[in-house]
C-alpha cells in the first residue's frame, strides 16, 4: 500500500491506496473526480490529462504513488469563483467540443501548450495537441479555441 499526501485542486488529500493504483483511477475512483476520463489503455488518447505540478500528464500512465507530495489540478479545479478559466471560455465560444469526452484532457493540454508557447502558430497548436484524440470536432474548432485564448493564460 502507498501512503499519499498530495494537493488536488487546492485541497490537501491524505489517502492510502494499493501500490499499483494509477493516478487516473485514483482521481476517478478514490476522489470521485469523474471529469478525468479514460479513453484508451495505451496512453495514446489524452482524455485523462491532468496537471501535476503545473505540467500536463497522462494520468493513466502514472502511478498515484508517484504523484505523492505533488500538486494536482484536474478539470474540476479550473473554474474559479464560478468563472470559467479563459481556455474553458474559449472552447465554449469557438464550439471546441461536441460529445465532451475528450474535452477535459484537451483543455488541460491546451492550457499547458499556452503556458509553454506564448504565441503559438496554427502548426504549433496542431502539433502540440498531437497527443490528444478527438473523434467529433475534426480539431478545427479546438485549434480556434486555443488561438482564442492566446494571451489569456
Amino acid at each position: 500500500m502507498a501512503k499519499l499526501s498530495l494537493t488536488v485542486n487546492g485541497k490537501k488529500i491524505e489517502k492510502e491506496v494499493p501500490d499499483n493504483t494509477l493516478l487516473a483511477s485514483f482521481i476517478r475512483e478514490n476522489l470521485n473526480l469523474t471529469g478525468t476520463h479514460v479513453g484508451c489503455d495505451t496512453s495514446q488518447c489524452g482524455a485523462c490529462v491532468v496537471h501535476v505540478n503545473g505540467k500536463s500528464v497522462k494520468s493513466c500512465a502514472m502511478f498515484a504513488a508517484d504523484a505523492n507530495n505533488s500538486e494536482i489540478t484536474t478539470i474540476e479545479g479550473l473554474e474559479k469563483d464560478g468563472k470559467l478559466h479563459p481556455v474553458q471560455e474559449s472552447f465554449k465560444k469557438h464550439h471546441g467540443l461536441q460529445c465532451g469526452y475528450c474535452t477535459p484532457g484537451m483543455v488541460m493540454s491546451s492550457i499547458d501548450l499556452l503556458k509553454t508557447h506564448k504565441n503559438p502558430t496554427d502548426d504549433e497548436i496542431r502539433k502540440g495537441l498531437e497527443g490528444n484524440i478527438c473523434r467529433c470536432t475534426g480539431y478545427q474548432n479546438i485549434v480556434a479555441s486555443v488561438k482564442g485564448a492566446i494571451g489569456k493564460v
Binding site: G35, Q44, C45, H95, L97, C99, V107, I133, G138, V143
Partner: protein
C-alpha cells in the same frame, strides 16, 4: 425578439462538459454495485468443448461466473437483425442465432463466452484468468472476397451468404451497356473501419426486487429501441417495468445505435444476481467487440456516350457482415447503399447486386454515413476514371450529368425533392480556385512534390425517415419521431425528444426551434432525452435524422401548443380563436391592446380559477394543462448534397500525402445553428479523410485483429488536417416543416473519394484506401518500374 433559428448560438450543454461535470455511464456508481469482466474468445472460429468455472467461482470476491448455459436456462433470447432483406430469388435473408453469450461456437475474436461478477473490478479481472475454456480451433473465414468459397461457418447458411440482393432493372442496364460508345470498369475496395467513439461502451444493470423494476444505464444513441429489443426479443423484462437510461454519451457514430451482448447480459445479470452489475469496456475490448463499419469489395462499370453522357451503371458488391448479423447490418449495404450509387447524376439505367457474407470478424453495422459513403466512394471514383478515359475535364464531365429538374425520380428508388447541384459545385470550384490549380501543381513540382486535385459531388438520403417507405423495404420498425412540449405553470418549458444527443448539440438547436416557435427565452427551455421513463417512445439518433424528423416533431408539438393557446387566449380576451394572432410569445387581438403572454396562458391553463369577469380561462369543455405531444413521420427522406474539392501534395520520396486544402460547399437546406453545422462538417471530414489516408481495421489470415489499439490503428490527429474551407448553398427540403436536410454524416460521405481522387491524380496510378505513405510509395515505384519496362 431576434430569430433564434439561423443564429450561431453558443451551446447550452457546454458548461457541464468543460467543468468535468458531464455524467457518462462509467461515472455512475450505485450502492452495493458489483463489477463484471467478460471472458472473450481468443479465436476467430472455434467450437467450445468445455467451460470450467470452478476455480474462478472460488476466487476472492467473486459473486458468480455466468455462461451461455445460465442465459439459456433463464430463456434469454439472442440478438436480432432488425431489417429483413429479401434475396433476388425471393427467399428471405439467412441469419444465424446470435446468443449474447456463446454456447457452442465462437465466431470472432472478442466474441462473448462468459462473465465474471465480483465485488471489485480487480477481483473480477483476476478471477477471469481462472475461467478455463476449451476450444477446438477451426479454420477461420476472414476475407470478404473469398467468404463465399470458404468453409461454411454457420450451419445451414450455404456459401456464408446472408442475402444476394438486387436493385434496378437489369435488362435495361444491360441494354445501356450494349449500346454504349465506351464502357469503363473499376474495382473498388472500401476499407473496414472501427468507429472509435472516444467514450468506450459501458453498461450498468440495476434491479429492484420489491418494485420489480429493472434499470439499465448504457452508452446508447437509442434507449427506447434498446429497451424494445431487450423486452420483446431478449425477453429480459417487461417494457413497462424496464427503464433504459442513456446519460451523457461520448460519441456514437452509429456504433451505439443498438443493444449489444453486454447490455443484454448486464440487464439480465443484475436481475439474476439482484445486485447492480457494472461493466466498462477497455479500448482493446472496444476494438474487438464494437461493430465495425464499411468493408466492401465492388466491381462496377459505367456505360458512356462519346459526348460524356452516362447512360448506365452496374454495381456488384460483396459486403462483409462479420460473424453475425447485427441490428442494422443488413440494411446498411442494401437500402442505404444501393439507391445511392447513382450519386447526383441523371443516369437512366442501373443495376446493383449486393451479396452480404458472414466471416469470422467482428460484426459490421452502421458507421457514420452507413452505406452512403460506400456508394459515394464508388460513383465518385468511377466518374473520375471515366472522365479521364474520355479525355474530358473531370469537373465538366460531372456537370454534364447533373440532375437539374426537381423533383427527380431516380431510376432506382429515390424521388429527390430539391437541389441545385450547379450552384454548390460552381461555388466550390471558385472557392478552391480550380482555375489556378495548374500553377499550384507546377509550384509543387518545382519543390519535387506531386500535387493532385480531387472532386466529390455527392448526394445522400437521410432524415431516416418515412415509416411506410422503410417498413415496405423490410424495416422492423417505423422511423417516425416523437416530441412533447410541457409548459410548467410558471411559464418555462420542458421539451422531451425521442432522439438522443451525444455530441450533436440537441440541447441548443432544439431549444432554438422552441424559442422561435413559442417566443420563450432559451434559458427557460430545457431539453430532456435519454431516459425511457421520462419522454415518449422515440426512435433515437442516427442517419442524420434528429433535426429533420425529431426537430420536426418538436415544431409540430409547438404548433399544437399555439393552437390551444389561441383558444384559451380568445376565451380570456373575449375574441374568436381564429382572430387571435400569435407572435413573439404573445397572443394578440389585432388592432386592440388586448393580449396575453404565453406564460400567462400557461399559468391560466394550470390554474383555471376565476379571472376577473371570466369564470374560467378555459373554453367550456377544454382540458386544463398545457402539454402537447406530436409524432412526426416525414413524407420522404431528405437529400443533402454538396461539392467537395481536395488538393493533396505527395512527397514521392516518402509516399507521404499531405492534405493541402479542403473545400466544401454543402446544401443542407435551412440551417438552425451554423456554428453547430460547421462542427458537424469538420468532424465528418476528419473521419472521411481518416478513412482515405490513415484508418484500417486489419485482420490477419487467422482472424486476429492486428489493429486493436491506438498504437496500431491510426486515428487522425490535429496535425493531419489543414483548415477546412466551408460554405453553403440552400434549397430548403420540402419533406419537413423546417426545410432542413441533415448534416451529421455528409463530411464522412463526401470526403473519401475527394481525397482519393486527388491522390490518384497526383501520383497517376491507383492505390487503395487507406493511402498510407508506404502504399503510395510502393504505387509510385511500381508505376515507374512498369514505365521503364514498357520503354
Amino acid at each position: 425578439m431576434a430569430s433564434m433559428i439561423g443564429s450561431k448560438v453558443e451551446r447550452k450543454e457546454d458548461k457541464k462538459f468543460l467543468t468535468g461535470r458531464g455524467r457518462y455511464t462509467a461515472d455512475i456508481n450505485l450502492h452495493n454495485q458489483s463489477y463484471a469482466v467478460f471472458i472473450r474468445s481468443p479465436h476467430a472460429r472455434a467450437k467450445i468443448t468445455g467451460i470450467d468455472t470452478t476455480k474462478a467461482k472460488k476466487a476472492p470476491g467473486v459473486i458468480d461466473v455466468l455462461t451461455g448455459k445460465e442465459l439459456q436456462d433463464d430463456k434469454i433470447g439472442g440478438l436480432i437483425a432488425g431489417w429483413k432483406i429479401v434475396s433476388k430469388d425471393g427467399t428471405d435473408m439467412k441469419c444465424p442465432a446470435h446468443p449474447a453469450l456463446a454456447t457452442d461456437l465462437v465466431n470472432y475474436v472478442g466474441d462473448h463466452v462468459a462473465l465474471v461478477v465480483a465485488e471489485s473490478l480487480q477481483e473480477a479481472k483476476d478471477a477471469a484468468e481462472l475461467v478455463k475454456v476449451d476450444y477446438k480451433v477451426l479454420k477461420a473465414v476472414v476475407s470478404t472476397g473469398q467468404a463465399m468459397d470458404s468453409d461454411t461457418i454457420h450451419d445451414g447458411i450455404d456459401k456464408n451468404l446472408c442475402f444476394d440482393w438486387e436493385l434496378g432493372d437489369k435488362a435495361k442496364a444491360e441494354e445501356a451497356f450494349s449500346s454504349a460508345d465506351k464502357v469503363v470498369e473499376m474495382d473498388i475496395v472500401n476499407n473496414r473501419l472501427v468507429p472509435n467513439a472516444m467514450e468506450p461502451r459501458a453498461s450498468i444493470g440495476d434491479y429492484n426486487p420489491s418494485s420489480e423494476e429493472l434499470t439499465l444505464y448504457t452508452t446508447s444513441q437509442n434507449p427506447h429501441l434498446s429497451r424494445l429489443v431487450m423486452s420483446a426479443f431478449n425477453a429480459i423484462h417487461p417494457e413497462h417495468k424496464f427503464r433504459v437510461i442513456a446519460p451523457d454519451v461520448g460519441g456514437g457514430f452509429g456504433s451505439k445505435i443498438y443493444p449489444y451482448s453486454e447490455d443484454v447480459v448486464m440487464a439480465w445479470a443484475a436481475k439474476r444476481l439482484q445486485r447492480p452489475v457494472k461493466w466498462v469496456c477497455e479500448r482493446t475490448e472496444s476494438f474487438l467487440s464494437d461493430c465495425h463499419g464499411r468493408d466492401h469489395i465492388t466491381k462496377c462499370s459505367v456505360a458512356l456516350k462519346n459526348d460524356g453522357t452516362v447512360t448506365g451503371l452496374k454495381v456488384d458488391t460483396i459486403a462483409n457482415l462479420g460473424g453475425y448479423a447485427s441490428l442494422f447490418a443488413t440494411v446498411t449495404p442494401t437500402y442505404l447503399y444501393g439507391p445511392l450509387v447513382l450519386g447526383l447524376y441523371n443516369i437512366p439505367a442501373a443495376y446493383c447486386n449486393v451479396k452480404g457474407v458472414f466471416t469470422n470478424t467482428a460484426p459490421v453495422d452502421a458507421y457514420r454515413g452507413a452505406g452512403r459513403p460506400e456508394a459515394t466512394y464508388l460513383i465518385e471514383r468511377i466518374m473520375d476514371k471515366a472522365a479521364k478515359e474520355l479525355g474530358m475535364d473531370r469537373a465538366e464531365f460531372r456537370k454534364k450529368n447533373f440532375i437539374r429538374q426537381f423533383p427527380h425520380q431516380q431510376c432506382l428508388v429515390h424521388n429527390i425533392d430539391s437541389g441545385d447541384y450547379d450552384a454548390h459545385f460552381d461555388k466550390a470550384l471558385k472557392l478552391a480556385d480550380y482555375a489556378g490549380f495548374e500553377k499550384r501543381k507546377a509550384d509543387s513540382a518545382a519543390k519535387g512534390k506531386l500535387r493532385g486535385i480531387g472532386f466529390s459531388t455527392y448526394i445522400e438520403a437521410c432524415g431516416i425517415a418515412p415509416s411506410a417507405a422503410v417498413m415496405s423495404l423490410g424495416a422492423g420498425v417505423g422511423l417516425w419521431e416523437s416530441a412533447e412540449i410541457r409548459f410548467n405553470p410558471t411559464g418555462n418549458v420542458s421539451v422531451f425528444t425521442g432522439t438522443h444527443s451525444h455530441g450533436q448539440s440537441h440541447d441548443t438547436t432544439f431549444a432554438q426551434i422552441v424559442a422561435d416557435k413559442l417566443g420563450v427565452p432559451m434559458e427557460n427551455i430545457e431539453l430532456v432525452h435519454g431516459d425511457t421513463d421520462k419522454g415518449p417512445f422515440g426512435m433515437g439518433t442516427y442517419g442524420s435524422r434528429s433535426l429533420a424528423v425529431g426537430g420536426s416533431a418538436i415544431s409540430k408539438a409547438c404548433d399544437k401548443i399555439v393552437e390551444k393557446g389561441k383558444a384559451v387566449a380568445a376565451n380570456m380576451l373575449e375574441a374568436k380563436p381564429e382572430d387571435i394572432e400569435f407572435k413573439d410569445g404573445e397572443f394578440i387581438v389585432p388592432n386592440t391592446n388586448k393580449k396575453k403572454t404565453i406564460g400567462e396562458i400557461a399559468f391560466a391553463c394550470y390554474l383555471p380559477g376565476t379571472y376577473g369577469e371570466i369564470k374560467s380561462p378555459l373554453p367550456e369543455g377544454m382540458e386544463p394543462g398545457l402539454k402537447e405531444t406530436a409524432f412526426y413521420d416525414p413524407i420522404n427522406f431528405s437529400f443533402p448534397a454538396g461539392s467537395h474539392i481536395c488538393e493533396v501534395e505527395v512527397d514521392p520520396t516518402t509516399g507521404e500525402t499531405k492534405v493541402d486544402t479542403y473545400t466544401c460547399v454543402d446544401d443542407f437546406g435551412n440551417l438552425i445553428n451554423p456554428m453547430i453545422v460547421e462542427g458537424q462538417i469538420h468532424g465528418g471530414l476528419a473521419q472521411g479523410i481518416g478513412q482515405a489516408l490513415y484508418e484500417n481495421a486489419y485482420y490477419d489470415e487467422t482472424g486476429q485483429l492486428v489493429t486493436a489499439s491506438y498504437m496500431d490503428y491510426c486515428m487522425p490527429r490535429a496535425d493531419n488536417f489543414p483548415e477546412f474551407r466551408i460554405d453553403y448553398t440552400c434549397t430548403p427540403a420540402t419533406s419537413n416543416p423546417l426545410g432542413v436536410k441533415g448534416c451529421g454524416e455528409a463530411g464522412a460521405i463526401a470526403s473519401p473519394p475527394a481525397v482519393m481522387n486527388a491522390v490518384v491524380d497526383a501520383i497517376g496510378t491507383e492505390v487503395t484506401m487507406p493511402a498510407t505513405a508506404e502504399k503510395v510509395w510502393r504505387a509510385i515505384r511500381e508505376k515507374s518500374k512498369s514505365a521503364k519496362k514498357a520503354a
